[in-house]
Symmetry: C2
Subunit: 344 residues, 2 copies
């Protein structure tokens, strides 16, 4: 199972049998709108707070994914989840509603792939028949907690990112129809000394590169092994830094095969999102909504999703600390590919 | 591996080969002082903030545990850790220092056993040769974040608990000398409607009982299977509630075999701790310091550590929510017991 120093190669590849992507109105006006399952017209979802709205989306995504898997929530052995809010509140309260045994995880925006990696690992090793991986973020709850409440109207520099309002969930099963989960690489914390909370991309880019190069080394594959390597939410600033660093490390990834969920989810010409999207939901809804559809259609055969997280703590910042980054990667394969090669 | 609905039974039992418990001065004046590895004379540890002091203890515990395992940190495949601070800051920054691939987890004070359960699971299933489980809490950083800064001198009701200042770490390995990890039960979130942030014991007790009864059901054992069942930090109020609930569920545990780390760590007559201790470090230092020594000496043969967590969010509280509880359990067996029965 352990492959190299920090990766898992799944011999019995678990299946991502179902998924759901729920988003807010702003994401629903972006270029990937057609790939989302629920688009809310109001980002408050008729709830009394942004936090309750976020939790509602997370519960919706989880319920839709479970229903699509053709199972009941009682058949889901574990819910692995986390989010950006202090005490990963959205996930904890969603777990209360779902009543599924709960493993809370936190890796900032890398939580999407941390939870999928762990859920997949458990299913691959016989620790669960079905496991749910789910995460969420909400622009207004995140801004309020990490920077300034949106209502203050504070201006942002071009390096800032726009936290995605949404939730993504996936059900992983021992068998069934859907893409396979082939491997996962767990990242190290990397900190290059960035202290600007409006430049998360720069804080996360070195971690993304560290995990991508570790994945290549551990799995003994090169960039060409994948049709697409997609980072979570580096956005424009972080993505360019990652490209440069990969060149320096001698593992350049061709531009057509290296993308970022934070650059895919919004329309830069029409939507004011500074450098691009961010948040746990960014990589979650792009992967579970958009990329999964492409894998199912066979338009993509093998992809590596590298969810990136800035372990940004406002308190640590006030105490003079820089922002550490982390990235976790999960490799997904289209069903036909697995069948074609006959690997088990 | 999966046993029943929410438990893992380890057929290849991993070994808890080394551990370390680091505490502050107040814990060093309690009845378990002799069992701790490092007792700091000053709770600030000559750091510039309570948060930095907490992180320093966590790093110390991790380093001592790794050194005692006779390995280097490069040989540790994964660090599974979390703590009480927003963004689990102590763990994230400790992971930066340790440079070990990092899986951040959060279950409030249940984090101690959530991390040990996951680290054990990975080692038992070939996903890691060595894994580190570590957690921390600090009285002053926790009070400041969840209630009022200590400096305010606010009074507390008798149901309040005293957050333990300390850090505990354990190295889990495929083989070696030390107690075995036999099984683990992952808890569900249970919420009985408690809204008092000064009564965490009552919020957590139903979750502890839910996990204990699930463990008995899944593993098909009764309370007598264990020499000791120890909850994390229910303290006096929560412990009595748990006793009552277990009676009601028809699985009473004899008083001599049912204890609580929060009631063991301080001297109620000499130390003003209201209902007792709490915090991620409470169950971690009592388990990794005190109980492990008893397992090594053969004074205990089989124990179940049920770490309890109140998923308390100050923001959710302000929005009218109650406090959900969760508990994760890990079963430990003395080395001689495993050898005697010859199980593999």
């Amino acid at each position: 199972m352990l492959k190299g120093h920090q990766s898992w190669l799944f011999h019995r590849k678990p299946k991502l049998v179902s998924a759901a992507a729920v988003v807010g109105p702003f994401e629903g006006r972006g270029p990937l709108a057609d790939d989302f399952d629920i688009i809310h017209g109001d980002s408050l979802l008729e709830q009394a707070s942004w936090e309750k709205a976020e939790r509602t989306m997370l519960e919706e995504a989880a319920n839709v994914a479970i229903e699509r898997a053709g199972i009941t929530k009682e058949q889901v052995h574990f819910y692995v989840g986390g989010d950006l809010l202090n005490q990963i509140t959205s996930s904890g309260y969603a777990a209360r509603t779902l009543t599924i045994p709960y493993l809370g995880v936190f890796g900032a925006c890398s939580t999407s792939m941390e939870s999928l990696a762990l859920a997949s690992y458990m299913v691959a090793t016989g620790g669960a028949k079905h496991a749910l991986a789910a995460t969420s973020s909400h622009n207004s709850s995140a801004e309020k907690q990490f920077r300034y409440p949106t209502e203050y109207g504070s201006q942002k520099p071009p390096s800032a990112q726009y936290t995605v309002t949404g939730a993504g969930a996936a059900v992983v099963a021992e068998a069934g129809s859907g893409p396979s989960i082939a491997s996962a690489t767990i990242g190290r914390v990397v900190d290059m000394g960035i202290k600007d909370p409006f430049n998360m991309g720069a804080a996360m880019a070195p971690a993304a590169v560290d995990t991508i190069t570790a994945h290549f080394r551990d799995l003994q594959v090169g960039p060409d092994h994948y049709d697409l390597i997609v980072t979570g939410d580096l956005a424009q600033v972080g993505h360019s830094i990652a490209e440069e660093l990969l060149d320096k490390h001698g593992v350049p990834i061709h531009k057509t095969r290296f993308k970022d969920c934070g650059m895919m989810i919004y329309d830069y010409e029409k939507q004011m999102v500074q450098a691009g999207g961010s948040g746990c939901a960014c990589s979650a809804v792009v992967t579970y909504g958009h990329l999964l559809k492409k894998l199912r259609k066979g338009e993509l055969r093998r992809i590596l999703v590298v969810a990136t997280g800035a372990l940004h703590s406002p308190v640590a910042m006030q105490q003079g600390e820089s922002i550490p980054g982390i990235a976790h990667a999960v490799a997904l394969e289209a069903e036909s590919e697995e069948e074609r090669t006959g690997k088990d």
